[in-house]
Symmetry: C2
Subunit: 335 residues, 2 copies
């Protein structure tokens, strides 16, 4: 059931069979046909391990995610996958499994096994040790979403994204805006939350606006977290309520919208709500957002590592676009 069998049956040599199977041009067309036919009949299944051993290439790339069940990661993963499949590469998934998962083990044991030829990291900031461990393998690496000291990265500029959002709100006349974001997810070391918050603060300051500490809330980057944050925000007297809430993700924004409704507030009549992402749900409910395209980012990242693999080039990566999509959750502040 190996290449050898085919060789015996066809009376050819192993090498010729190997070449034929890969459709190399130095093999006669008739030979290729014959080999393929026999391989089919025999139910031949190639061994990637053998090929990998011989070539040093596994034709697989690893994708490392902090957790799997977040909209952004799923979308990006899809993008990486699409490009990989096009190139005939397999995708091996390394899920750090969030706070509970054993990050160390994932980084040491599995990934370093030469099972993949390259790595795409999602929103991960590596510490010194991890970087060192990974460099050991000398694999091409790129990270999506979040700056990566020492590594190439594709993603939007989170500070700019926050500024776009704040500019929009201020342009409408808002001066009292709250921010719902998230903290670093226990040990996951994700930079994005901090960057967006910093971008928010900077942009507010640039507009000469005050940033109230109690209007910077943790929405845990989830829908439920958004609801909680919104509830806290809207529980106060109307006078001490922000006129707009900027959320670091659409999922949280959706939660804030629900909280507003529960508090009897109209959006954007009583309060404007704005998110980041371009989530499908947001489109349906008319959420204004700063949209990005994680699928495209995934594709870009995959293409980048593939190019580095094939051509050895590690050129600069194109910037990922983000643009304001004004829908119906933002408007001028109530008088």
């Amino acid at each position: 059931m190996g290449i050898q069998e085919i060789a015996t049956v066809t009376g050819l040599s192993k090498s010729t069979v190997s070449r034929a199977l890969r459709g190399m041009s130095s093999v006669a067309d008739t030979t290729i046909d014959q080999v393929r036919r026999v391989a089919d009949e025999l139910g031949y299944v190639p061994s990637s391990a053998a090929a990998g051993l011989a070539t040093g290439r596994q034709r697989a790339v690893g994708v490392v995610v902090p957790v799997i069940d977040r909209w952004f990661y799923v979308q990006a993963l899809g993008g990486v996958d699409a490009e990989l499949r096009r190139a005939g590469y397999d995708l091996v998934l390394y899920n750090l499994g969030g706070p509970g998962g054993d990050r160390d083990r994932a980084f040491r044991r599995s990934m370093l096994r030469h099972r993949v030829d390259a790595l795409v990291l999602l929103s991960l900031v590596l510490d010194e040790t991890e970087r060192a461990e990974l460099e050991l393998t000398r694999h091409p690496m790129v990270v999506i979403g979040g700056p990566a000291p020492g590594l190439r990265n594709v993603g939007v500029d989170d500070v700019v994204v926050a500024a776009i959002a704040v500019d929009h709100l201020c342009g409408l006349g808002h001066r009292e805006v709250a921010y719902v974001g998230g903290q670093d997810e226990a040990g996951m070391n994700v930079a994005v939350p901090w960057l967006r918050r910093d971008g928010f603060v900077d942009a507010m300051v640039a507009h000469g606006l005050a940033v109230r500490e109690d209007w910077i809330l943790d929405g845990r980057f989830s829908f439920a977290g958004g609801v909680d944050a919104g509830a806290a925000l809207f529980a106060t007297a109307p006078a001490s309520r922000p006129t707009a809430v900027f959320c670091a993700s659409d999922e949280m924004a959706l939660g804030v919208m629900l909280a507003a409704r529960r508090a009897g507030l109209s959006v954007p009549g009583d309060v404007s709500v704005l998110g980041i992402d371009g989530h499908e749900y947001g489109e349906v409910v008319g959420l204004t957002t700063v949209a990005q395209d994680p699928v495209a980012q995934g594709r870009t990242a995959a293409r980048a590592v593939l190019a580095e693999l094939d051509e050895g080039v590690a050129g600069p990566l194109p910037a990922a676009p983000a643009h304001l999509v004004v829908r119906s959750t933002t408007g001028v502040p109530r008088a």
Copy 2:
């Protein structure tokens, strides 16, 4: 940078190093320590391809998904991943990429490369050819969610799930209930949508209730689809409106709820809405649902293939539980 280097440095033989690295008991503890230390210093990285070639085991299992960006698949994938990681296995993801993806290619080229030791299929019904191709590899296989002729499967009984939902609605006094489901997703050959619809129809009939053709809608198993279906349902005169809507997924139910709100209908005052899944969002908005646990199903499936791999046993799989979670979107029909 291989096992050989370590052997040379330590003055041991390749075999001993190999054994030491794997912590085999026949090796002296001091030797193990020494070998591990040297391996560390040398920055040794094991080659899974070589080990795989020698043992015939890749220590990896493949997970095949029709599309990646659905709540259920992501959750199940997470469950499979968790169990695999516990066992020290890697997970290679085969995304068929939905209608646009090249299903054939995924099934032939990549998967059959002996890159994985076993397969977990998500909600996929294979056709004859595919089954034959996969059987070729003689890998343990189990499918999650959806019956699989000839294969072991873990998942809820979709017909029963639908019955639970209908029973709840009828128990409240509803007699006019609509169904929002989905069709087979273009070429993905997923059985679940049909089973739930059949279950709905059967249960209705069992309750002596009429099933109106125009109250069986396609919600595309998505939030947006649910909104559309709901809009269609609620656009009619109050008299010809169902008093309850049963959705084959929480995501669609969420959409129907939004449509109800847009139509000025109160839930459950004017119309009851009920879903299937146990989606996080549903919990937040108080959606009544028939909950299942895809993460647990993923774990079960992973454990099953792992057991078959390790012990050669392919015993029966435990049934996946589903239970009614009554929240606030279902109530007695309006008089």
